[in-house]
Symmetry: D2
Subunit: 344 residues, 4 copies
Amino acid sequence: MKYKVAVLGATGMVGQKFIQLLENHPWFEISALMASERRVGKAYGDEVEWLISSDVPENVRDMEMLPMDPRNVDADIVFSALPADIAREVEPKFAQEGFAVASNASAFRMEEDVPLVIPEVNAEHLGLIDVQKRNRGWDGFIVTNPNCTTIMLVLTLKPLLDLGLAKVNVATMQALSGAGYPGVPSMSVIDNVLPFIRGEEDKVETEPLKLLGKFTGSGIDFASITVSASCHRVPVIDGHLEAVFAEFGGNIEVNDVIEAFRSFKPIEGLPTSPEEVIVVRDEPDRPQPRLDRDAGNGMSVVVGRVRKDGDSGIKYLVLGHNTVRGAAGASILNAELMVKEKLI
Amino acid sequence: MKYKVAVLGATGMVGQKFIQLLENHPWFEISALMASERRVGKAYGDEVEWLISSDVPENVRDMEMLPMDPRNVDADIVFSALPADIAREVEPKFAQEGFAVASNASAFRMEEDVPLVIPEVNAEHLGLIDVQKRNRGWDGFIVTNPNCTTIMLVLTLKPLLDLGLAKVNVATMQALSGAGYPGVPSMSVIDNVLPFIRGEEDKVETEPLKLLGKFTGSGIDFASITVSASCHRVPVIDGHLEAVFAEFGGNIEVNDVIEAFRSFKPIEGLPTSPEEVIVVRDEPDRPQPRLDRDAGNGMSVVVGRVRKDGDSGIKYLVLGHNTVRGAAGASILNAELMVKEKLI
Amino acid sequence: MKYKVAVLGATGMVGQKFIQLLENHPWFEISALMASERRVGKAYGDEVEWLISSDVPENVRDMEMLPMDPRNVDADIVFSALPADIAREVEPKFAQEGFAVASNASAFRMEEDVPLVIPEVNAEHLGLIDVQKRNRGWDGFIVTNPNCTTIMLVLTLKPLLDLGLAKVNVATMQALSGAGYPGVPSMSVIDNVLPFIRGEEDKVETEPLKLLGKFTGSGIDFASITVSASCHRVPVIDGHLEAVFAEFGGNIEVNDVIEAFRSFKPIEGLPTSPEEVIVVRDEPDRPQPRLDRDAGNGMSVVVGRVRKDGDSGIKYLVLGHNTVRGAAGASILNAELMVKEKLI
Amino acid sequence: MKYKVAVLGATGMVGQKFIQLLENHPWFEISALMASERRVGKAYGDEVEWLISSDVPENVRDMEMLPMDPRNVDADIVFSALPADIAREVEPKFAQEGFAVASNASAFRMEEDVPLVIPEVNAEHLGLIDVQKRNRGWDGFIVTNPNCTTIMLVLTLKPLLDLGLAKVNVATMQALSGAGYPGVPSMSVIDNVLPFIRGEEDKVETEPLKLLGKFTGSGIDFASITVSASCHRVPVIDGHLEAVFAEFGGNIEVNDVIEAFRSFKPIEGLPTSPEEVIVVRDEPDRPQPRLDRDAGNGMSVVVGRVRKDGDSGIKYLVLGHNTVRGAAGASILNAELMVKEKLI
């Protein structure tokens, strides 16, 4: 018996990735797809501009899309791939009616009583669910995952916290799929780089402080590190690459950092979890988006070029698949964690 | 009457740019092209894999290539677009025989008695020429320009020195032409980013300290700032984009930085000099390589997104044309400065 | 004294090219820019998403955009860069009020009394202007230029007509700028080719028959050749490349074809006319979009790889700049021809 | 018990694809990798510039490379990914010593007694093996597969033969992986198309005549159709797209062509064979390289836009994965056919 899952915003770039990752999921089975008014009643396969492989999966091709109304939906979990402004309206309706909403949207990430979770980083923040239900009088709840760029970064910052991490500068080279579809016009990005992604730097600078913070029983004590980001779009289909300059409180050695990365453990027993959370590569020219984005089926992050930066600094690169580990896969992993923790 | 100039290594990517920039130069006229043994005696137009426009300029198309031997060359100035290892052997022979060598090669940049010069930044370092001639007993001399990535960066750091600049982290997104030809295989960089450029980070971290240093009469007192670089190759034909995180000794305001950039003056009277050294753009999404690399005929650098980074930090992006301001144009501007200063 | 010219649809991709080509035009000077309702009253420089170089030209940056209404416009010539559906409504209003409309839109190209003109190919078709004015009772008139892909092709077919040209198969590799802005999403075309361009093949198969037809005094007798097209979009910014298979009525030799191409003459005295209409290159690997699109300032077409295809066939490639020779430059050349012919 | 297979030329682009496709092959198991002198004795994983996924497969990572000498090799089948000039020397040595050589090289494809085979097209040509062994006195033999571009084309021409196919013009848009590694320099192909591929058109024009010919018992009677090709390289990683203009002896209807494509059957029981040899898509904008190259695990070809071209012509597009169906997969499928036919 599988859990029934529904997807909000199923036709977009991240929505498509939800569909693909859920196609043969051992625990979850798609029971409903919800879309905007103009698509309601139409078959998913007829409406979607399917861009991630040859064909729309058979299990959803003829599925009729439903309105974004909890009364129509039969599901145990609702995944949300909605844009932030629509998520802000729609997700609470589902949470109120008792659904577990696993959201990739940014709308509620920074709300005090909403868990912002990466399972390997801060599973204990799920404790906020009770706070949230009490605060809001909801039968269900919302759990969010971070921004794609934040996720790759924070997966590598977590193991560095105990080594005295104090300050991070990060410059990103982000993939086009992160902008959705139609997203970035080709005229804007062939033989070019776009040095700006609206709202991105703010997310990358604030979300890590919550993620790396401590759950107090009633809220989150934010981590006291500083993150500064410069975000850029490059002509790459999938895979965000990030150049990290990490400052520590005192002396730091490359080997200790690599050891910390390699010792960082996945959560046992989650089907979408990779075997290695952080793959550390030794070659001088890795990670590369085209070669490394599918590591661990897109759920590992790949680190390379770990090197000294003065006495108390370390530089490295990290790469992850932005629509898998950075979006749909992140929400699904959160849902799996909630199942394991018997929250669903 | 124009000065006669010769070009060492004329068939490569930077060599081609020398040819193009010198085609209608008001002061200089190409008198000789020198190449490796296998090309000697052949017409330039037959040998070069011309990649920067429709046709090889007529003034050099039928010019026979000479060996890299000072005895064959009739020229006032020798421009060098050689690789470092060959430059190390060949350039001293020309300097010894009395030629003024304006070199883009890295071979001698960091030697104590060799000027490493960007005219707008440290023209006074040309004072090292006398030291060099005395030290080495040469009739001529070598003057070098920095690495392409260094140049864009340092043109923006110079005006920040008086504002208390202390530390710089820079992450680069560099163009393919910087790797020469055949250079980066297409299979390596379509839908991809290469997170490593051999030797680049070391140059970007050390050359600025010399460039921003003080000429003492007999040598250079290096600047005491710190530069840390992470260098990456993106699928862009021309134009290096750099994300800069600059730390200052104390509080710093965006307006002061922009004002410093805009007040930074070109050297008067040099034909290759741009009207504006630093173009500061206000749009949120500039500079972009494809749109901004030709600013000031490729000799301006373009800055954008100047923003606060904590109390004592500033972030910004800078872009410049890597084979013009970053290579051939840099050497030519140095030669123009030397003419103006009556060193030639 | 220059002619005053106005531009309809000035903010699009082709509109921008009109602005750029007219910036320093010796005969024409921009007196008005007309745009859709929502842009009226706003400064051109504030509204346009300028994509073809660093900055919007100064002569139009602050020009207020006018509605598309002939009563507001003071101009001798009206250039139209409108989409076909809007052109169909707007252009006749201007023609009726006495304006000479030089249109790049497809709306009226195939109308019996509307000249479809490439100056070097069928200047005498301008004789249709009188027919048109008589037919429609207009004070002014509309003259059109062909589709971009048609233009490159027909410039090479015209000199082949006398050699017995009978049938043409053409497969195109077209640039992204031809789809306008935002146009083709980057997700659709990075590491990809789009094998379909709506409406394109029909235009390429029909327009040449009119262009190569004979003006009878009252209409056009269409040429009796056959053209079949397969049109594709490739990840190239500018420059349409076309692979042509030409069948002749009998034996044909490569040298005769090359001789016919090289003998094809420009119209004397038109400022935008290139020195060579057809540049024939001998290298085995030309023409290439990036290297050859700017030949003759984008007004030449470049031919290469002319080779036998059986006894009575010839294969070759032709390339031209799609927004210059293929659009804005085409309309401007037509207007120059009309001035020379004293039709304006 | 699996057959032991060896790979000649295992480090190149096609060699890597052999390794990948053979990793979990149900019938074949890699027993040896042979390489050029300078690689002999080194581990495959240390030598290869692995470009097709994250990591070199474990089963060959530490395999020591052997010289290209039959005395060293223990294998039932030898796959050859050698360049033509080396293949010409090396492959006969293996055939003479009794090996079954399944070659992707062009060296022997057009020799009278060497089968050039696509299983679904001309399996009966394997009858030439006996002729070859007799002629040459070899214990083993060479079987070849066609050029990658030929394969996609001929798979679609075969079902059209009975409909009266007479003449084919084909214009190709070929992927970069077809040029090997380092292959095409990125400076040559970003924002560009290369209109020439050395030797390619000749192969595409001659190989189909042999493939579609009849085995007479002692040789092949070539098919009497005509093929003319124009071959071009586009910035796509994998997947050759071909625009086909097919002329028939008389009237031809789209439905008959589509029916012929859909009825074209795979060989039963070969593990690498796709379920559908020709996938016909109805969408107006397919096939596309990025979306369709992996159809049938890269072994299907995908056809789209089948449309009339006059009374007796049909136009369509065909796409296939050039290093799978067009190279390594083609050789492997040939080997599987030979096993099925008990020739090995």
